[in-house]
Assembly symmetry: C2
């Protein structure tokens, strides 16, 4: 189910896990600080992974380095770049709270790039003790293995003031999760489009209201 | 107008400007990367500044290090912590796009902490060439010297789908700016509350609509 190269990466990472210790150092002039904040850490781990894969001679390439400005995937895997790999990370002392993808972009892109549904997700669970970063857990997953329903929508999303922003993860690593992950790809896709249908209905009503208000305000 | 210690900091920074070169290094295991992204850089510069001020023996202290969890200021200045100092930064190759403050929190806090209006803003204009960070410009400003009106509101803010998020800066450093900075503290305060009044009017209408919709949906 997962791409062979993704499985290789997972295997190598798990064997090296006890050595996966590091952190961020920031300097200007002669003052250097050991960074204790988590801001931007997801992007750093993603960039680090590309360098690590190169060092391990894995068939993993970065679309941005060959001139593609596309928003996905983070990496291509395989000799013919046939697999898609996304890198995610979160602090294991908290809950998984990363953005899986922008909700509307993901809905749109599935119709144009149906292969996106089969992307592999390599997920790093890190711990930050002061400025010391350690990798505690590594998972390889498919999107339907890290997503679930929610009270508000058939698919759990980040929703603020009735606007859906991002697809958000289930607590797939927890035995006490209130909502369980989907049991199949099909179940995820159904939940995705059921959410979209319900959401677009609501959004159109809101847009009508905004439109009528704007007529009133301008006239 | 500015606190004496803020002026001292500005003076020292400007004298050292040619030496203010640095960057971010991130490592896990034996792979280290020189970071080229800007994510989180504002927070790093803010944290760096505290260490730099300590090294320069300036009377500048970090509220978070003495147990205050308040959202402002970034630093206290003066022997009696009587002055408030905010640290901001932006890439001089682009426009100033930092968040000055959350709009609603700022409106609320001014009534409880009117001294906040007199906070000093120390602003770093940086350049990132690959992973090499240089400080190109440093400014010391008051809030009315870095804010302006906009087409949408009496005070320029970040507004998405009719929701105001943050107070956003004017192009105070540009000769060709379409909107000029305010000419006085009073002019800024007027624009702030005029924006709030107009915004709350609209928001209440939206909340009514949402409320009636929820009645309809639930009934």
């Amino acid at each position: 189910m997962y791409h062979k190269v993704s499985l290789d990466a997972l295997d190598k990472l798990q064997k090296q896990k006890h050595k996966l210790v590091g952190g961020t150092k920031f300097s200007i002039g002669n003052i250097q600080i050991d960074v204790e904040g988590k801001d931007g850490l997801g992007g750093l781990i993603e960039e680090w992974f590309g360098q690590w894969a190169l060092h391990e001679r894995l068939a993993i390439s970065n679309p941005k380095k060959v001139g593609n400005s596309q928003s996905f995937p983070d990496y291509f895997v395989g000799n013919n770049q046939e697999g898609l790999l996304e890198i995610k990370s979160f602090d294991v002392a908290a809950s998984a709270n990363f953005d899986i993808a922008n909700f509307e972009s993901y809905c749109d892109s599935l119709s144009k790039n149906p292969e996106r549904i089969d992307s592999d997700y390599l997920i790093f669970g890190y711990k930050l003790s002061g400025s010391r970063l350690t990798i505690e857990e590594i998972w390889l997953k498919k999107i339907w293995e890290i997503t679930c329903p929610s009270e508000r929508w058939p698919l759990k999303t980040q929703t603020k003031r009735n606007v859906i922003y991002n697809i958000r993860p289930a607590a797939w690593y927890s035995k006490n999760a209130r909502y369980h992950i989907f049991t199949s790809k099909d179940e995820f896709v159904e939940a995705l489009y059921a959410t979209q249908k319900e959401y677009l209905g609501i959004k159109e009503s809101n847009e009508e209201i905004t439109y009528y208000k704007s007529l009133k305000n301008n006239g």
